[in-house]
Amino acid sequence: MDQDLKTELSKHGIFATSFEELYNWGRKNSVWPLTFGLACCAIEMIATTMARYDLARFGAEVFRPSPRQADLMIVSGTVTKKMAPQVVRLYNQMPEPKYVIAMGACAISGGPFRDGYNVLKGIDRFIPVDVHIPGCPPRPEALIHAFMALQDKISAQHLTGESRPRHLKQELPSEFPVPEFGEHGLEPAQNDEIFHNPLKVLQG
């Protein structure tokens, strides 16, 4: 249905919608995050769920203790190389459609521990990240902003056509390879299918 026609109808008190919009509206307002805190950012995440910031306003207050029931993984904190396989495995165990918010400097790049020997330089090396939040740690408002950005992303997804979300493409695999904790860090160091090193991209 044409957008102009819809606004014209709404002026006359007629509400028109499509199945896709209704479906996405339901999806974006019932995103259940996984109970999953890795470091200090998790404290901010907990604060976001409490009465003062109240993530329940967005339908996301139900933190699920099992990946089977969760839609959203908030990677809140430093991902050590020891922990990275477990993070990827938990992500694999979540049912589709699933989303990832990388919260804080550590989760998106390694942060202050980037030069450390035991810290993963960003979780987007192994799983696809939908929203990145900078900050060390980000304030609860930043997490809420990221959450609203994710909601916008969900509501903009088309259910048919080539741009349909990953979970509706039957040919794509359901799982991402879990790195092994080897002698010299993680093997492989990144998933080349989803991670493109920005330095190498710049060099061409």
């Binding site: 495995r89 979970h167 799982e175 879990v178």
Partner: protein, 131 residues
């Protein structure tokens, strides 16, 4: 004059409860069945080895879920329980020891000796030695 309803002539005094029970089960089962049908028809199923694996906080599950405990734990627990109760009695006994009469003291000693005898018996049976 009240006409009896044409359906379900309610004779037995529990018949109403049975009907209500059936209605309650159906009332609960219908949404569940609908949800199951909806999931069967429309949900994009993407099973995988890890997705279907046992959930173990992200770690790989190791060993068998059916852990069997040795039966001697049971005996050990019983012996422990007896002396646990004994300790509860010993505490007031020790606190009031200087003010106790001789018969009370003797009664307590009999109680203690009975339990010590039990311990010796358990020891001789080999309960406290571990294989």
């Amino acid at each position: 004059m009240v006409k009896s309803l044409p359906i379900a002539p309610v004779e037995h005094p529990w018949a109403t409860i049975l009907v209500l029970l059936g209605a309650a089960v159906v009332f609960g089962a219908i949404p569940l069945a609908l949800a199951w049908l909806w999931a069967r028809l429309f949900s994009p199923a993407k099973p995988g080895l890890q997705k279907n694996a046992t959930y173990e906080c992200g770690l790989e599950a190791k060993g068998d879920a059916w852990v069997q405990l040795d039966v001697s734990y049971y005996l050990y627990a019983i012996v422990f329980l007896i002396f646990d109760v004994e300790a509860v009695f010993l505490l007031p006994f020790a606190a009031a020891f200087s003010g106790l009469s001789l018969p009370a003291c003797l009664a307590m000693l009999v109680f203690l000796l009975l339990l010590v005898e039990g311990l010796i018996w358990a020891c001789q049976k080999g309960v406290l030695t571990w294989a």
